[in-house]
């Protein structure tokens, strides 16, 4: 770098630039949190959705699955599983999920194993409600297709 570009100029760019963009980021984040109620449908977060999220977390589901693309890449995406396995119908999805959770582990030799989590029917229903609410968050048309 030439001598005309001094260390103090570099320092000013660092401080000024970082601060400037940090402020923009804060502003945009604030705007985003104000816009989000329109698309995350938080009005539909029932007590059972809240319990379902707690179950999702306390069983570390994200340690194998992705949820809207984030998590581990070992098992299927569950952000849209309500549509994939429940056809978009609450009762059908609850039925499916109860059957699926009870059948684990499948014990197919060599196949990836989902553990048995010993959840009650009420708990599985809560989990189903959480996944249904999640599926209905508007996330800019992601994923590209039903397979997630």
């Amino acid at each position: 770098m030439s001598e005309t570009f001094t260390k103090s100029m570099a320092r000013n760019i660092y401080y000024g630039g970082s601060l400037f963009f940090l402020l923009i980021f804060l502003g945009l984040t604030m705007h985003t949190t104000r816009e989000m109620p329109k698309t995350d449908h938080r009005e539909n977060i029932t007590p059972s959705v809240v319990r379902g999220k707690a179950l999702w977390e306390e069983n570390n589901c994200v340690g194998c699955h992705t949820l809207i693309g984030e998590g581990a890449y070992f098992a299927p995406e569950l952000g849209n599983v309500f549509y994939r396995r429940g056809g978009g119908d609450s009762a059908a999805f609850r039925g499916f999920l109860n059957g699926w959770m009870a059948a684990q582990p499948l014990n197919v030799p060599g196949r990836r194993q989902m553990p048995q989590f010993h959840l009650t029917e009420q708990q599985v229903n809560d989990l189903a409600d959480f996944l249904e609410w999640t599926a209905k968050i508007e996330v800019n048309q992601w994923p590209p297709n039903i397979e997630g």
Binding site: I13, L28, T32, E57, V62, Y73, Q113, W142, P143
Partner: protein, 464 residues
Amino acid sequence: MNTLKYQSQSVAKPYFTFALILFVGQIIFGLIMGLQYVVGDFLAGAIPFNVARMVHTNLLIVWLLFGFMGAAYYLIPEEAETELYSPKLAMILFWVFAAAGTLTVLGYLLVPYSTLAHITGNEYFPTMGREFLEMPTITKGGVVVVALGFLFNVGMTILRGRKTVINLVMITGLIGLAVFFLFSFYNPSNLALDKLFWWWVVHLWVEGVWELIMGAMLAFILVKVTGVDREVIEKWLYVIIAMALISGILGTGHHFYWLSTPEYWQWIGSIFSAIEPLPFFAMMLYAFNMVNRRRREHPNKAAVLWALGCAVMAFLGAGVWGFLHTLSPVNYYTHGTQITAAHGHMAFYGAYAMIVLTMISYAMPKLRGIGEASTNKAQVLEMWGFWLMTVAMVFITLFLTGAGILQVWLQRLPETGQAMSFMETQDKVAIFYWMREVSGVIFMIGLVVYLLNFCIDRKKAASS
């Protein structure tokens, strides 16, 4: 032989040693997971995949934190030209952090995660079960306590001594690390909001403040091993971290594409994250430039190799592999596929694992009383470790990229009805996972070879 400028720098040694022990643990669990990718029921009862993954990623984070703290305890007194404020506090915090980390990992391994959540009272203050932030709330509290004590200790050292640019950048990065970690305590029941602020920890760490820490560490090493004028190195450091934050802060937007967020993030995220490779490119130019302009031949060739290797691999892993899937129209198809895993592996290894290993390479001979550098024989072994691990990581990344491209092709690109299911796709790409696992074994061999270098000079170290 005493080779430390300031005696209190010696507290860095247990930090580095423990970091390397955890690194070994990380790789062992990586190998277990890698095998579970292809032999699905391998150890499925004893160590389910989610447990192995949690151990793998959490050990990575914790060993890097140990490495950063060790680096801070080593370089901050030397830069400040004064002894560490309190070596005793540094040692107490070492044991607190080591005990908390060990107990947490044992908790992951010995009881089901839901039991761990229950024992630690997660229902009263739920923060668990989110990717990378799986540790119990009480452990998170412990991390905050350790971080505060640590920042107080190094902060007081800086206040007492010479305030160099390297020290100021280092402490800014470390304070940022602690501040953004606080967002891990925010876990609203609204998943969309939860995710939005989860990224304030994850992204603003690795694509924000950690780059300051990395930049400061690299600058310190370059000053030491090249003898190039500090003014020049500090100017570069400012330019690099300016680019890192200017691109990285708004670059967070590339995580807000698919998250009930306004559409402007598609543009902001794409544009600013397209600039994110620049600081890494600059870092690479700068490392090579400084080494070419060196005014001395430092006897620690291994440390110079690590520094150059780190700059190159960080550019490839974080810069190139990050750019590969960062533009919104591309990310629409690659989000949450093996492409992400490929990028994650090379970026973490290249930028953060390697900068810590660079620091360890430079500091360990001094900390062990060997001198400026290890013996030639030990350095040769260390460099073998470098090449085996680095080449293995390149292949791990390439194989995961191959798996990811195929996954996108089979599972993401076709329309609903035509697209292959997730599990079917995984079977189709199994060959890539096998090759990744073989590369992983070579990485492990490289790590063992690397660690053996510490045995060669044992007598010399003991007699010091």
